[in-house]
């Protein structure tokens, strides 16, 4: 195999087993391809050729493996979460800890690969789109590391709800451009990034953040992210001597899900479940569940499922999670859905936030709200399997592997508003969103009201009120 975990186990399947797609022109069945202006074709061809050469170049593979080990901190560990699993019907739950990567999510895996590719093709500037800001932070990080100039496009709406990540990108030396066209979210950031790219393609490489977009991005990003599943598969075989019954991951564009799914695609007994952002509920129309609630069409350079109206206009998506708030999805997911190899289910904002709170309280891990959708999926699927008496091996409970794709530091403000935790003297944007969502000043579901405030900074009788902690030390 060419792009693999730093320490592949002997049982890892040949990468070519799941490299049977896409075809030479980037099609996954009827999905994928290139729906872009002719002006970009030369750049996409150049990128494809350079990537095909790079992926088998031992010098690149060594450099990439060293970066993953020494800079990202791979391999990421597997953590079993038994107290959280009590809410999953008795199934066992293991987390793949991409949240522990440098920069706080799986996005760095892909970005380091594409940044090396940028240097290889002699370009000096990178651009990126970002929703939650995790891909933007990862790209800004790689650009700083490798001495590339970096511009990140981010919907104006997202720059507000992910202000921390905007600050991180700027600290790292990137230019962050708030996008004010269209719905002012991720989809419009992608449009602006493509406009920049077609104008500046001679000096600039587009570091795409997910497994969507025109060929070669869905294939290339998958190859850079498959390390997640390659590692996890080997780690499970080593510690459990078995494969998981179900692999779960959240799906926006779908890069972390493809990353953990790919190694398991040939293992037909392993269920692959992608959790889409159900927002207020798919039946309300306010959601981002593209495969569950969308139709095939063309968006951002590829054919896949998308949320669209009768005129073929992209419909605005809704999710509490900025990283999943995208009306499209990667073409390989559309393909895996249509051939029945993976299943896609919606998780509402409320379900995701309940799982978010549970993981915080039971295991001491604050997940990204994106990843909380996968945790909520584990709660549902675990209960289903145990209730059906299926999924396990003999007397063993079902074994669920969940990709914890990112950590929740960036989501503290959103979660504080949802659970009404923040000390506040003046209304904020978050309050407005809480009111919009019909929650007013009440805490959202998933958090016990009697645990709403943290009274003491220490646990003995010298406890002091939170806001005074540190003052009396």
């Amino acid at each position: 195999m060419t792009l693999s975990a730093p320490a592949p186990a002997p049982d890892v399947p040949d990468a070519t087993a799941s490299a049977q797609w896409p075809d030479a022109t980037g099609h996954f069945g009827v999905f994928g391809g290139r729906f872009v202006p002719e002006a970009l074709i030369a750049a996409l061809d150049e990128l494809t050729a350079a990537y095909e050469a790079m992926r088998v170049d031992p010098a690149f593979l060594d450099e990439f493996a060293a970066l993953q080990r020494d800079y990202t901190g791979r391999p990421s560990p597997i953590t079993e979460v038994p107290k959280f699993a009590q809410h999953c019907g008795g199934a066992r739950v293991l987390l793949k800890r991409e949240d522990l990567n440098h920069t706080g999510s799986h996005k760095i895996n892909n970005v380091l690969g594409q940044a090396l590719l940028t240097k290889r093709i002699g370009k000096t500037r990178v651009i990126a789109e970002t929703g939650a800001g995790q891909h933007g932070v990862a790209t800004a990080t790689a650009a700083a590391l490798m001495g590339l100039s970096c511009t990140v496009y981010m919907g104006e709406e997202d720059t507000r709800r992910q202000a921390l990540n905007v600050a991180r990108m700027r600290l790292l030396g990137a230019e962050v451009i708030p996008v004010t066209t269209g719905s002012r979210t991720l989809k419009d950031a992608i449009n602006e990034a493509f406009r920049d790219w077609v104008t500046n393609v001679e000096t600039t490489n587009y570091v795409f953040g997910t497994v969507a977009g025109p060929h070669p991005f869905p294939m290339m990003v998958r190859d850079f992210q498959r390390v997640i599943g390659d590692e996890a598969r080997a780690q499970l075989l080593e510690r459990e001597q078995r494969l998981p019954d179900v692999v779960l991951a959240c799906v926006g564009g779908g890069s972390n899900a493809i990353g953990i799914f790919t190694a398991f695609v040939p293992d037909e007994a392993v269920r692959l479940v992608g959790l889409e952002a159900g927002g207020d509920g798919v039946d309300t129309g306010r959601h981002a569940a593209t495969i569950t609630g969308g139709d095939p069409g063309v968006l951002h350079g590829a054919r896949s499922y998308l949320l669209q109206d009768d005129n073929g206009q992209t419909v605005e998506s809704h999710s509490i999670s900025a990283g999943l708030d995208y009306p499209g999805v990667g073409p390989e997911h559309a393909f895996l859905h249509d051939i029945g190899r993976a299943e896609y289910r919606p998780v509402t904002d409320a379900e995701a936030m309940e799982a978010f709170a549970l993981l915080c309280r039971t295991e001491g891990i604050i997940p990204a709200i994106e990843s909380a959708h996968a945790l909520a999926g584990a709660m549902v699927v675990g209960r289903e399997l145990v209730a059906q008496g299926t999924g396990g091996r003999g007397d063993e409970p079902p074994l669920l592997l969940v990709n914890l794709s990112g950590r929740g530091d960036k989501d503290v403000e959103t979660a504080s508003a949802w659970f009404d935790l923040a000390d506040r003297t003046a209304p904020t944007d978050s309050d407005e969103r809480a009111v919009e969502a019909g929650r007013g000043a009440e805490p959202g579901p998933g958090m016990d009201t009697d645990q709403r405030t943290t009274e003491g900074a220490v646990s003995n009788d010298r406890a002091v009120a939170g806001q005074d902690a540190g003052e009396q030390a």
Partner: protein
């Protein structure tokens, strides 16, 4: 196969001039005014009207066209209104060609689109984000009903891609003058002239029209010196955004029509 676009461009060439192609989107500021503006563009001297289908994610367009199209998208303007504009332009005596990103056509149904466009009197379609490699269904449908199909070439296109794209085109070849999005530019630049020459040399001397960046009569005259047609979009839309209405569109057509007649087209 006969081609309404090739015919009108050939007739202009016979007069020793380039054809004037005006782009306007359906639905800005509203459907009726946008159609009146297209008719005014014809009255002012446009030979062809490129009738824009509103789209939520116009990745090849600059801020001027985005601003106008956004209004039409939010008003729910769709293919029914586009077809009404096609008939109005044909009735006004110019050749109507639809300009659409691919998803609105795919959503409408490729065969249904071809049938309805032909019935409305349309010459064909320009598809800025559809390359011939992905156009199987459209090539078949446009052949079946005899519609023109215009694909784009760009300064970055290789000679092999120029040849393949020219072979797939019927009507004319759309040469994007610069690397970038739609919008006015101070100069059109040498890249356009080189691209037109390369495109003609690639295969069969097709009609080549140049778009992106042309906004004045002088620029139209410059481009008419080396191309078969001059495509103007953002400058027309600017007239509407600035509130000059169909009269403003007509006067721009008059200026541009004078421009395309100023330079002698190379035979």
């Amino acid at each position: 196969m006969s081609s309404a676009l090739a015919d009108v461009i050939g007739a202009a060439r016979a007069e020793g001039r380039a054809a004037l192609i005006a782009y306007l989107p359906v639905g800005y500021p509203d459907v009726d005014t946008s159609i009146a503006a297209m008719v005014a563009a014809v009255e002012g001297g446009a030979d062809v009207v490129e009738i824009g289908v509103p789209y939520s994610d116009p990745g090849m367009d600059g801020p001027v066209i985005q601003e106008a199209v956004d209004v039409a998208v939010r008003a729910g303007v769709g293919m029914a209104e586009v077809l009404r504009a096609v008939t109005a332009v044909a009735d006004a005596g110019a050749v109507p060609v639809v300009m659409s990103y691919w998803n609105p056509i795919e959503r409408y149904g490729v065969d249904r689109f071809a049938d309805d466009l032909a019935a409305a009197g349309g010459a064909g379609a320009i598809t800025p984000d559809l390359i011939p490699d992905e156009a199987g269904a459209w090539l078949a449908a446009s052949d079946r009903v005899g519609l023109d199909r215009v694909f784009l070439v760009a300064p970055s296109s290789t000679d092999a891609r120029l040849a393949a794209t020219v072979a797939a085109c019927r009507g004319f070849v759309y040469a994007a003058s610069t690397m970038g999005v739609t919008g006015s530019r101070a100069t059109v630049g040498d890249a356009a002239e080189r691209l037109v020459a390369r495109t003609r040399a690639a295969a069969g001397e097709p009609p080549v029209c140049v778009g992106l960046g042309v906004s004045t009569g002088d620029q139209a005259a410059e481009v008419a010196g080396f191309a078969d047609g001059v495509i103007v979009g953002s400058a027309y839309v600017r007239r509407l955004l600035d509130g000059h209405g169909p009269d403003g569109v007509r006067s721009l057509s008059v200026e541009l029509a004078e421009g395309v007649r100023r330079a002698k087209v190379q035979a």
